[in-house]
């Protein structure tokens, strides 16, 4: 497998009235072509900011303060805005959470679908129309020709998300960032959209970064899983390891808090406490105030990313005992 994306020591900060606050703290990961990497975590864990950093679409007060993002041979952090414009929609693309608001209400589906084709492939309107019909067919929309002249409000949520996907995939990107694309949809539609995405992924051979907080979706679609907490990567592993053999207490907590519908009536397990705010300085491990296994060293020293196996690592001092203190800073290279 060839490597598609390599993120190294990425740190994203936000300028606020209280100074610059880091939302993403020094994270590193990589992914291969055709792979699906799920980023999971609570709200505010920095998963969306990580994906926006990759897209170069941070809000005006956000900036990548250090680190690098390599997509194939390009270093995205060194690109100018115009160069990024040429890449966005072409080699990397994004789909959003809310299909209700991610399409312009006053423009037709066809108009919005033609945009990436006309921007990147310099197609004429007529050519773009032909391609749009093919694209809509590909994402399973019936009567694509009619749909082109319809407005977003005439389509259902699931249909709109399909349209969003077809817009994002119009130029066959090598990396697709999906920021909770199924959260706003009901479960049956969710399953359809996930199937569609898997299908298109195999067809186009693209890498997918899938941001979600739904462990069910993770189990469905992920090849590898990256768990984020308070702007840091706490555990990264292939999907089987995460579900069968989670190492980090936070990952265990996340999995425990998924209700078991088959079991007897039981209390819902929750992780006690709440996510620290961006400016909260916590000595040692950022999770230790909420961690049931916290020891003295957790309060004093920040743990490195320990390798559990060759492609499973966990940022927790509990691993030190198991691995005899051999930190493995980047899980996979």
């Amino acid at each position: 497998m060839t490597q598609l994306l390599q993120v190294e020591n990425l740190e994203t900060k936000f300028r606020t009235a209280d100074g610059k606050l880091p939302a993403v703290r020094n994270i590193s990961f990589s992914m291969d072509k055709g792979e699906t990497l799920c980023i999971v975590g609570e709200s505010g864990s920095g998963k969306s900011i990580t994906s926006l950093s990759i897209m170069g679409l941070l809000p005006p007060n956000g900036e990548i303060s250090s680190g690098s993002i390599h997509l194939a041979d390009d270093n995205l952090t060194e690109k100018t805005e115009e160069q990024m414009e040429r890449l966005r929609g072409n080699t990397l693309s994004m789909i959003f959470q809310e299909p209700m608001t991610a399409l312009n209400p006053v423009l037709t589906i066809g108009y919005q679908l033609r945009e990436p084709l006309m921007i990147h492939k310099k197609m004429s309107k007529k050519e773009a129309n032909q391609s749009s019909i093919a694209l809509l067919e590909k994402v399973g929309i019936p009567n694509p020709k009619e749909k082109l002249s319809q407005y977003p409000h005439e389509l259902s949520g699931g249909m709109r998300q399909r349209v969003m996907i077809s817009i994002a995939l119009a130029c066959e990107p090598s990396l697709l960032v999906a920021d909770e694309p199924t959260t706003a949809l009901d479960v049956t539609i969710q399953a359809q959209i996930l199937d569609l995405m898997k299908e298109l992924q195999t067809e186009l051979g693209m890498g997918v970064i899938f941001v979600t907080h739904d462990m069910g979706v993770v189990a469905e679609i992920a090849d590898r899983v990256m768990v984020m907490y308070a702007g840091e990567v706490v555990e990264i592993a292939d999907v089987e390891s995460i579900f069968e053999d989670p190492q980090h207490p936070y990952t265990k907590g996340l999995l425990d808090s998924v209700p078991d519908v088959d079991g007897d009536v039981q209390d819902l397990n929750v992780i006690q406490g709440s996510m620290p705010s961006l400016d909260e300085e916590i000595s040692g491990c950022r999770f230790h105030p909420r961690c049931p296994f916290a020891t003295d060293i957790c309060k004093e020293k920040e743990p490195p990313l320990f390798g559990v196996t060759s492609n499973h690592s966990s940022k927790c001092w509990l691993q030190e005992v198991k691995t005899n203190g051999e930190p493995n800073a980047i899980a996979r290279s």
């Binding site: 005006p60 929609g89 693309s93 994004m94 312009n104 423009l107 945009e115 119009a170």
Partner: protein, 298 residues
């Protein structure tokens, strides 16, 4: 086969926009006052377009043997003025002047206002400068500003257009800026950025279409103000010069004969009043039809 496909495409395409247009017209007509306004407007526009066809005398054709003819005279049903010129012909030709001046100055004003409003709303850095200039223009009484511009450029109808367009810019800029501020935060703008659309493309092709409803209303209302101001300036001798059949200038000329032939001043006055009234009530109707509960955002 491709030919039929194309025709199909066109038919499908036209339908929704037609529907929306017809829907708007229907809801404008629902209001009786707006319906009356619309009828008057259509009449004025048709009269202006077909002015040479529906008159038997030129607007400046003098007939010194038949001056000051009253309303209902034979051959001149609106009478003649002090040079024996046919009032009907002058009113109708005046309509085309008023409409042309109105359309061009509102048009120029809208273009200027849209560009400034888009820039101010989208780029935070430009916002301060542009909106202060707009505030400055707002603080200046419109007619005074127009007189100032005309004093600098000289009296002519073209300079009236320039003066009034400058005066139309600030209101439009504010409307557009306000819309842009809320629209630019929408997810669909982010989505357009994520497929690599440039700022210019986003501003004009994706944000501007969302501002059209308030702009249509503003433009219509503005037509009324513009026509009124043009007449006011011409009445003061700053706009159209005699013998141009401009309504305001006609009132100015007619008021000298207020006792012998009151219709010389009253008829152009009524023409102005009707036109302004029509634009205003149609504007009101459009606002009710387009602005608050229009299904633009559902």
């Amino acid at each position: 086969m491709p030919a039929t496909a194309e025709i199909d495409n066109k038919n499908v395409k036209k339908q929704p926009s037609n529907n929306r247009f017809m829907k708007t017209v229907k809801s404008v007509i629902k209001n009786k006052l707006s319906a009356i306004g619309l009828v008057i407007l259509v009449f004025i526009v048709l009269a202006a377009i077909f002015a040479p066809v529906i008159t038997s005398y030129g607007p400046n054709e003098q007939d010194l043997g038949n001056t000051h003819l009253g309303i209902g005279s034979e051959g001149h049903f609106l009478g003649t003025d002090n040079y024996g010129r046919d009032m009907w012909s002058r009113i109708v030709h005046g309509a085309s002047i008023s409409l042309l001046v109105g359309i061009s100055s509102v048009g120029i004003g809208l273009i200027g206002g849209i560009v400034l409003g888009l820039l101010a709303g989208y780029y935070r850095k430009l916002d301060g400068i542009i909106m202060r200039i707009v505030d400055l223009l707002f603080a200046f009484p419109g007619i005074l500003l127009a007189m100032l511009v005309i004093a600098m450029l000289g009296t002519s109808l073209i300079n009236v257009v320039i003066a009034i367009s400058i005066w139309s810019i600030p209101g439009c800029a504010r409307i557009v800026r306000g819309s842009v501020l809320s629209i630019k935060e929408q997810e669909y703008i982010m989505a357009m950025k994520s497929i690599g659309a440039s700022d210019v493309r986003i501003l004009f092709k994706h944000i501007l279409p969302n501002c059209t409803a308030p702009l249509i209303v503003y433009g219509t209302m503005r037509m009324a103000t513009t026509i009124l101001s043009t007449s006011a300036l011409s009445y003061l001798g700053l706009g159209a010069q005699p013998p141009t059949p401009e309504w305001g200038a006609m009132i100015a000329a007619g008021q000298n004969f207020m006792w012998q032939a009151p219709h010389l001043a009253i008829i152009p006055g009524i023409a102005i009043m009707l036109t302004v009234f029509a634009f205003n009530v149609v504007g009101d109707g459009l606002r009710d039809a387009l602005d608050p509960n229009m299904d633009l955002n559902t």
